[in-house]
Structure formats: structure tokens, C-alpha cells
């Protein structure tokens, strides 16, 4: 059910293919666009801060949108102030973002900083907006292990989506060609991080060795086979009911029995 009156803006960034590194639409941002399309249909607005010449941005337009606003920013700029100012003036009610950019620092801080700057609430891991009534949205949040939590939050708010959100639709070539990237001139704030930090190709992480601090051979042997013989509680000679009781107690202790 598209809420056509809802003013939804999705923030998109340029992604990178995980193998080739080619510029493409970012996976999570595309999911955020998908969610936006389900909420606002054609009224969804796209916003990017960066270079309007980047062709990869058109992949978002290919999902069925006519235009995208691009706040012109040089490569090493802090985009948060510009985005924040724009969003406040645009009267956005719901701002959707991905949870982590695929190029650059990718710290996933952007939605948090925006929410802080705008002083709006932030929902992390949005998967579905169930309803919006009288300025209060009821949303589902993704938790690890496929679990979901229901939250109520007052508009306007910022929400980030991650890989649990619905998969993005294909991008069609024609609409992507025809769509408009509308550049806007805004103030630029320099990002100082790369003064002191440097990016380098990822090094493979060292595998953790199992350190055994045993002094004697017997202890080492025990440590090496500990998993197999750690030995928990073994209940023999009891009725099935007693056994079931013990299991249920453990399940309740672990809070998996709902």
C-alpha cells in the first residue's frame, strides 16, 4: 500500500562490485530504494552527494524513477552537513539509507550523524513499514537470526536498511538512460580524516591459533580433545518426563522457548 502522501527520500551512494571493483549501484542502497518505491511509488525522491557525472548512479533511476538530485561535492568532502541541510528544507518525513557504503570509509556512520544533526529518531535495520497513522509509523526492524522487532516511531525519522530488507528490483536500461541527474550547488565541508588515515588493499586477517597453555602432555591432550569430551550433564535412568523437564529448563534459561 503506497502512502502517496508520505514524503520519502532515499539516500544513495556509488557502490563497487565486490570482485571487479567496478562502480555499480550499492546493494543496500538499492534495497533502500526498493523500500522507498513500495512506500511512495513514483513520488520517491533520490538524493546523492557527490559527482553528478558518475554513470553508475543511473542504475537507481533504472528502477523506475525519473530523476535524482545530486548535491555537488568533491571526492573528499564531508557530505553530512550538506545532506542534513537539504533534508530539513525538503520537508522529508522518512529518510532511507543503506547501513554501510561500499567504497571509502564505509563506517556506516552517515545515518547516525544525520539523525543527530536533524535531531530525528533513527531506526536501524528497517525491513518494512507496516503502517503510518497520524504521524506515527509502525515499522519492523531486522534482528540477527531472522528475527523481527516491531517499533513505533514518530515522523520524521531516519532509517537505515541492511541486507534483510526486500531485494531490489532489476534496473532497466531505457529508464536509466532517460532519467535526469539534477546537480545542485551546495557548500563544501572538507573531511579531515584522510589527512591522517590511509586506505590500503585489505590484508587477509590472520587466523587465530588455538593457544594451549598446558604444562604437561596429559593437559595438552585434554585441551586438544576438550570439545569432544568436555562432558556436560548426562541424565540416565530417568523417566521421559523428567528428561523433558530438564530440557525445557535449559531452553527457558536460554530464552529460546517463546
Amino acid at each position: 500500500m503506497p502512502h502517496n502522501l508520505l514524503n520519502v527520500i532515499t539516500l544513495v551512494s556509488v557502490g563497487a562490485h565486490p570482485v571487479t571493483g567496478r562502480a555499480r549501484r550499492a546493494e543496500q542502497d538499492a534495497r533502500a530504494v526498493e523500500l522507498g518505491l513500495r512506500l511512495a511509488g513514483k513520488e520517491l525522491q533520490l538524493l546523492h552527494a557527490g559527482d553528478p557525472q558518475v554513470e553508475a548512479l543511473r542504475a537507481y533511476l533504472g528502477m523506475g524513477l525519473a530523476e535524482m538530485t545530486v548535491l555537488q561535492q568533491p571526492p573528499r568532502a564531508d557530505v553530512v552537513p550538506a545532506l542534513g541541510d537539504y533534508l530539513r528544507d525538503a520537508g522529508a518525513q522518512l529518510v532511507l539509507t543503506g547501513s554501510q557504503a561500499e567504497v571509502g570509509e564505509g563506517s556506516g556512520m552517515l545515518p547516525y550523524l544525520l539523525a543527530e544533526q536533524l535531531d530525528w529518531p533513527l531506526v536501524v535495520g528497517l525491513v518494512e513499514v507496516e503502517s503510518v497513522t497520524e504521524g506515527v509509523a509502525q515499522v519492523l526492524q531486522a534482528l540477527p537470526r531472522g528475527q523481527r522487532r516491531r517499533l513505533q516511531v514518530r515522523l520524521p525519522f531516519v532509517a537505515s536498511v541492511d541486507n534483510a530488507a526486500p531485494e531490489a528490483r532489476q534496473s532497466a536500461f531505457g529508464p536509466a538512460r532517460r532519467g535526469q541527474l539534477r546537480p545542485q550547488d551546495v557548500a563544501v565541508v572538507e573531511d579531515m580524516l584522510l589527512e591522517e588515515a590511509r586506505l590500503q588493499p585489505a590484508r587477509p586477517r590472520p587466523k587465530r591459533l588455538k593457544v594451549i597453555k598446558a604444562k604437561t602432555g596429559a593437559e595438552r591432550m585434554k585441551a586438544a580433545t576438550a570439545k569432544a569430551s568436555a562432558g556436560g550433564q548426562v541424565l540416565t535412568d530417568m523417566t521421559p518426563e523428567q528428561g523433558a523437564e530438564a530440557i525445557v529448563t535449559l531452553l527457558r534459561d536460554e530464552k529460546v522457548l517463546r
Binding site: P121, Q152, A202, R205, L250, R258
Partner: protein, 407 residues
């Protein structure tokens, strides 16, 4: 037998008298010792005893030690040395995830890192929200424990928790904040705190040394190397957990807590998701059946009743009782469940590999000697059908009771 040593003047006298015929047997024969080069040396002659037919016998079980006159000493449980920080020069604050109320291995890695950062001057502070079940804070390396159990931070309450953490920041002015960069809370809490404090955090940090930290950047193709900021969101295995010291776990209090402003996120509770649809690799609670399951309808019913995701051993899959995508193990899915309930599964290595990262394993099996029972934290020995039936009845009764309680 008492533990007190008794003197035996006669044997002492023999031991001193080198001419006595029994002198040699009174010498404490060292079976092994650390040599000059640091290697362990062994004297095979000192081992063993004369068997009934006069041949020398060595009992390798360690129960018998001929020749050696040493009293078997009863080892007390090893007490790790206690690390005390009386007047900390600075604080390193860690906010563990405490999944299921206990320190996760990710949390322990962070405490390991915190302890290297704290050195011998600083104190490692743990901020724990809500109820917990952890009893090993001392060996995890926690010098100070700040336990916040107020009503406001129960359940999912990131905004209130950030308020509390801001008060902690004001009170302790920690040199570093360490928070697990995990999906189970730490990643979110840490970033919220960073935005609130106006700190630029280092995220997905996997290595930290000499004031520099290395974290993954972008989609994982690059590393960001930078001077360690005050707030660090660290990945799992960023450091080794504390292993050989005990810490005080001295309780500290938050001085003035001002939680103002109503929560803007209103938690409406968990949503029931169909466990059958949860991907097995992600499922939290798996009921897995093997060759020892006799009644598969009952098994499916139990899974529904318990709200568990179904899994199976290879034999159950090969025999056609379960679909192929439900196979757990080396050639199936590697699961990460917190609780794995294995019914009639013997625990072949290929299967145990698949459940290596499971937290709690429960086995229902007829054979108390099988490998699954050895791996399990709780094993119930008996017939699978009877126990599954009892389990269903018990949970049913509980649910009924629950409904009555709520009414």
C-alpha cells in the same frame, strides 16, 4: 587418609646413610625434570615397578609410581594471580553485548584488547545493562564493573543506553571506549554513542597496536589504517582474550543519572516469525533429527511446538525423511544456533563439524557412550519417541499455564 605430612625417622636415616642396602630405594627418583636447555628430560629407569614375574612394568595411566617416594599431592584448583588496580591512572571502558546475559567470545576478545590498552596503570571498566547470568567476569579481565539495571535500559532501549553512556563518559572520561562492532547491538549502540559524543569512531577494527588501528573499509576490499581514536568499534578476534590473570570486578556506581526526554523509539516487542522459514545457518534454535528418530510426524510436531527450526543428519536426509537443504554438517549447512537439540544423532565427525560453533548442545539418545552425548551440555538418555512426546506435553502444559497467568 589425611593430608598432613608425617615424618618417618627411620627412612630419613636410611636416606642419609649411603652405605645402607636400602639407601638407593629411598632416594626420590625424579622421573622427569627440566634440563639446562629448558627441555624436559626423562629418566626411564625411574619409572615403573617390578611386576609379579620380576619384569619391570610401567603403568602409563599414572596411577602407580614405583620407586618414587613422593606423596601424591592433591592439587588445589589453580588460582590465577589477582591483578589489582587501586588507583587507576585512566579508564578503558568496554560495553559488552552480553548475548543471552553472558559474555560472548567477541566480548572477551574486546576485554583482551582493553587489557593490553590498560597495561598496568589503567583500569578496564565493563558497563553491563540489565540482568545478566555471567559468573566469570574476573577471568575475562574486568577491573571495574558498572552494572546499570534501571528500568529504563531494560530490553531494546538504545537511546536511553546512550544517555547512560554519556553520563559514564562525563564521569570517567575514559581514554578509550571499546564496543563490539556486531549486529547484536554493539554496532548500533557504538555508532549512536559516537554520534552523540561527536567522536569519529574507528569501525570494524581487527588489529590495534602502537596507537594505530586497522579496520576494514568499504565493502571489505580495503583497510583503513589510522591513529586509534577514542571510540573503537572492534570486530571479533581483534585480540586474544585474557587468559592468565584474575581481576577484581570491583563494583562502581554511576553518580548522577539524568535520563530525560521520552524515548522516541517505542518497542512493541518481538514479532513471531515462522521458524520453518528462517534459514538454517541463521536459526537460533534448531531441532535436528537423525537415524534414531522413529516417529517423524512427532518430530515435526515437536519442532512446531518448540518453535524450532528443523535440521537433520545425513542419514535422515538420505533415507528421505528430510529435504536435502536441512542437512547439518560438513557437506550440509554449518549452523550457528545458540541451542542445538539433537535427537537420535550419533555425532559423526562430519556432523559435529557442522555444529562446532553452537553454544549449547542438547542430545536425546539411547546410547550414553556416543560422541554426541560427549559433545552435549545436556544429554537425556532414552527413547526418542517417548522423550519427544514428553517434551511436547510439557511445553503444551507450560503454554496453557502461560495463558492462564496472562489472563
Amino acid at each position: 587418609m589425611t593430608d598432613s605430612l608425617r615424618r618417618d625417622p627411620r627412612s630419613e636415616w636410611i636416606a642419609r646413610n649411603r652405605l645402607h642396602p636400602l639407601h638407593a630405594s629411598m632416594q626420590p627418583l625424579e622421573a622427569s625434570w627440566v634440563g639446562l636447555s629448558g627441555l624436559i628430560r626423562k629418566n626411564p629407569h625411574a619409572l615403573g615397578f617390578a611386576g609379579p614375574n620380576g619384569l619391570k612394568r610401567i603403568d602409563r595411566s599414572g596411577a602407580q609410581q614405583g620407586g618414587s617416594r613422593q606423596r601424591a599431592r592433591v592439587d588445589a584448583a589453580v588460582q590465577l594471580p589477582l591483578h589489582i588496580i587501586e588507583q587507576p591512572a585512566f579508564h578503558i571502558v568496554v560495553v559488552p553485548d552480553m548475548i543471552g546475559g553472558r559474555l560472548s567470545s567477541h566480548d572477551k576478545d574486546l576485554f583482551g584488547l582493553a587489557n593490553t590498552l590498560a597495561g598496568s596503570e589503567g583500569a578496564v571498566v565493563a558497563v553491563v545493562f540489565g540482568e545478566h547470568k555471567e559468573s566469570a567476569f574476573d577471568t575475562a579481565g574486568i577491573d571495574r564493573l558498572l552494572h546499570i539495571s534501571s528500568e529504563a535500559v531494560a530490553g531494546y532501549s538504545p537511546e536511553q543506553r546512550v544517555m547512560m553512556l554519556r553520563a559514564v563518559d562525563a564521569q570517567l572520561a575514559p581514554r578509550h571506549w571499546l564496543i563490539p562492532d556486531s549486529r547484536t547491538g554493539g554496532g548500533e549502540l557504538g555508532r549512536r554513542l559516537a554520534a552523540k559524543l561527536g567522536e569519529r569512531p574507528a569501525t570494524r577494527v581487527w588489529q590495534m597496536a602502537d596507537g594505530q588501528c586497522v579496520g576494514r573499509a568499504g565493502g571489505g576490499q580495503q583497510d583503513l589504517v589510522r591513529r586509534a581514536p577514542r571510540l573503537i568499534l572492534a570486530a571479533a578476534e581483534c585480540a586474544d582474550p585474557v587468559g592468565d590473570t584474575r581481576h577484581e570486578v570491583r563494583a562502581i556506581e554511576l553518580e548522577d543519572v539524568l535520563v530525560h526526554g521520552a524515548a522516541r523509539l517505542d518497542n512493541r516487542g518481538a514479532v513471531a516469525v515462522d521458524p520453518a522459514l528462517t534459514p538454517m545457518a541463521e536459526a537460533e534454535f534448531i531441532l535436528s533429527g537423525g537415524n534414531g528418530v522413529r516417529d517423524w510426524d512427532l518430530f515435526h510436531q515437536a519442532a512446531r511446538e518448540l518453535g524450532a527450526t528443523e535440521g537433520a543428519s545425513r542419514v535422515a536426509v538420505d533415507d528421505g525423511f528430510m529435504p536435502r537443504d536441512r542437512q547439518v554438517g560438513a557437506t550440509g549447512t554449518w549452523v550457528t544456533a545458540r541451542v542445538y537439540l539433537a535427537v537420535g544423532i550419533s555425532g559423526a565427525v562430519q556432523h559435529l563439524q557442522g555444529i562446532a560453533t553452537c553454544d549449547k548442545v542438547v542430545a536425546i539418545n539411547q546410547d550414553a557412550g556416543c560422541d554426541m552425548v560427549k559433545r552435549a551440555d545436556l544429554a537425556v538418555i532414552g527413547d526418542s519417541t517417548a522423550i519427544l512426546q514428553a517434551l511436547i506435553d510439557r511445553v503444551d502444559a507450560l503454554r496453557q499455564g502461560g495463558i492462564r497467568d496472562a489472563a
